[in-house]
Amino acid sequence: MNDDLDDLKAMMDAATPRPDAARRAENIALAQKNFADIQGSRTAPRPTSTNRPKGLWTGVRTMLNTMTTKGALTTTTALVACGFLLLTPQAQDLLRPPSNPQITMTEFDTIRSAPQDGVASVAEDVMATNTIAPESSSALPQVQQLPLTMPEQDESFANRATAPAERSRLAIKDAQDTGETAPTPPTPAPEASIAMESTALSDAVEGAAELAPAAPPNMRGLSGAVTEEIMILPAPASQPDARFIAPPAQTEAFANADTNPLRITSEDPVSTFSIDVDTASYAIVRSSLSRGQLPPAQAVRIEEMINYFPYDYPAPDLGEAPFRPTVTTFQTPWNADTQLVHIALQGQMPALDDGPPLNLVFLIDTSGSMDDPAKLPLLKQSFRLMVDRLRPQDEVAIVEYAGSAGQVLAPTPASDRTTILQAIQGLGAGGSTNGQGGLEQAYAIADAMATNGEVSRVILATDGDFNVGISNPDALKAFIADKRDTGTYLSVLGFGRGNLDDATMQALAQNGNGTAAYIDTLSEAQKVLVDQLSGALFAIAEDVKVQVEFNPAQVAEYRLIGYETRALNREDFNNDAVDAGELGAGHSVTAIYEITPVGSPAQLSDPLRYAPNTVASASDELGFVKLRYKAPGADVSQLIETPIVGSGIPGTEANFAAAIAGFGQLLRNPQYLGDWGYDAAIALANANRGEDAFGYRTEAVQLMRLAQSLSR
């Protein structure tokens, strides 16, 4: 909607009167009366009675009364005799030849096994929607609850997966509803076949139950522009039943930019970007793959996939800078003639209990579009997990927003757990989404709660579908950037698929000094809100920027893998006014460059014939890494510098990061990978899973396998 219409809408809203209360009551009463009248006509007694005396003999008498001829009586008697012979087991024993005793058994078997398949597939669907790690014991009640209380919601998931009409648009705001997708329960047969297909495809991934026919491969070719409209028509075979209604148009918008191009060192030796500790993209990729679709290329942000995993990088010593950079160079897995420069930052891990008291404002989207098992119910569970981890000195307030924003819970100490949990449990979905109104109120409450030395943070939980107030990501950015200066952090948690507005969520988190995470399962909530809670809540360094200068005497070409949405201008590095990413306590950040050494056969560009050869440096450094960060709350940045030196042997951590970088490129744009494919990525990741205490890397390998199957 452009400005013209916005003005018009504002005028119209102002002109629209409230309905007259008396007329309202009158009209509703009229409607109810008519309703009752209609019901009455259905239930009123019929003029002729149907309750005539019943019974076998009545029927026989009627038959005898109406059938008068002898022939007719003989015919019916013969029919009854045949029926007796065919339908009773004893009579069948008389008929059946002794050589063929198996017929009834087989029939019985198929009859019995069909519903079992149906049950199995429902059970697997449940697993798919709630991939719960076995170690999270608090998740168990959820497992038992879901199949009992929400069967039709599971079905709506299955529907969505089997008919992948997917449509991404920036502007469409569509509230979708589960009730629409599954008016009739699906017959077990198509589901059962899908479930079997999935077993064949992958024994590994939890979400494999709903493998739809593979998404068309041209999905991969679409890249870049956020506003691009993608329409993937459902494959003919994916319509299992005429009674199935096509799923509602999906209106997902993803933030991304064109893949970083190859740079020629002699022309453009400096690369600058902001760190990114978001993990949303990996979770979105996982959610797509688990539903049996390759993720849209714009949904893949490689840096977020790499940074999803915890790495065992060397941590800084006490008294040092809040994080420690480690730079290693090693041979590229997908190209023997190039090198990867692996830049790792490891943040220090202060003890959680010693941190300053937290003021948390949960800003919860309760609009109609949140009414989905993967949204509001999962959100409630997730926040319950988190509340259990807060300390007594922390305070929590809850604001919900739908058509209008409202405070649900006044600031309450975390020790008063019951009150907080009750407030969370009482949230219900309905109405449109006035995100801006909610944000304003949440920031106002956060300001009121803040006293010296406390950390305030607004935690926004939404599907990103802002359709009232400011809904344009650019305008939201300006609004958030203004609020950022008050010192309040903003974390964004994304929920649900279908109308996920990833672009808006990214805009909010990147401009609000915060992080964006996407919660698709309770185990992801466990990771973000419990295992890595301190990282999510305490920033140890703000506005962390990275600038790398490559040495043209050593490096002919370079390419930054990922960080497309985080690129900064060269001059922004020293400008403390320019915002950049935050590093949370204990977080690690990885950035990977692929470089082509001078003289390597892999060089893609020819040297210029007429340009003066200015390379005079005899240094054997490949380049120089500069990092800038601010201590939390500080205005002036500090500098850390470290050179990039020659090639070495990669450790487990660097190898795994490289494998994920390769996986991301396979999903997004494999143009630089040559014939390096999923097999090699899986082998590399599998060999470098390391300790993997939480099983994240194992899961990544499973996702790679799934993507391999789907991309064939």
Partner: protein, 180 residues
Amino acid sequence: MRMMTSDEDLATAAASGDGAAFASLLDRHYDRLFAFCFRLTGARAEAEDLTQDICAALPAKLASYQGRAKVTTWLYRVAVNAAHDRRRKRATYMKASDGWGDWETGRKAAIADTSAQLDWLTAAMNQLNDDLRDTLALVLDDMTHAQAAEVLGVSEGTISWRISEAKKALRAIKEKEDAV
């Protein structure tokens, strides 16, 4: 618990005879329905009457609710149809009353005066033709083009075209006014 139930579930329950579900559904949507009727008609009294028509007919229409569409989409479709019926009735009446002479002319002048006092937008919207007006009313009600297309039973492209036509027309009206 009822507030948690989705519109579609309520509508399905109401269609099978649950009076409480029907009451709750209507109560939930009455205000929005009225606002939409106001957009369709441009006058408060007209909107009240149209809402009454819809309320009176709704129980019978409910039987046609299949659970396919969202309740709001279905309800808006009912509203647009009811508005059409009203307009048609009025057009017949106007035709019949065209030859009534001076008394009728005087009455029409009075109506014209009243509409001049209405705010600019309502007056301008009254000058649009019915299709453009219905479309605009839907889109101004936070409906996407796709949803409006579903309500009106036309293609999404038609909606986009109508919106641009409506904008053009409104701009023309505004220019004419500014010139005066």
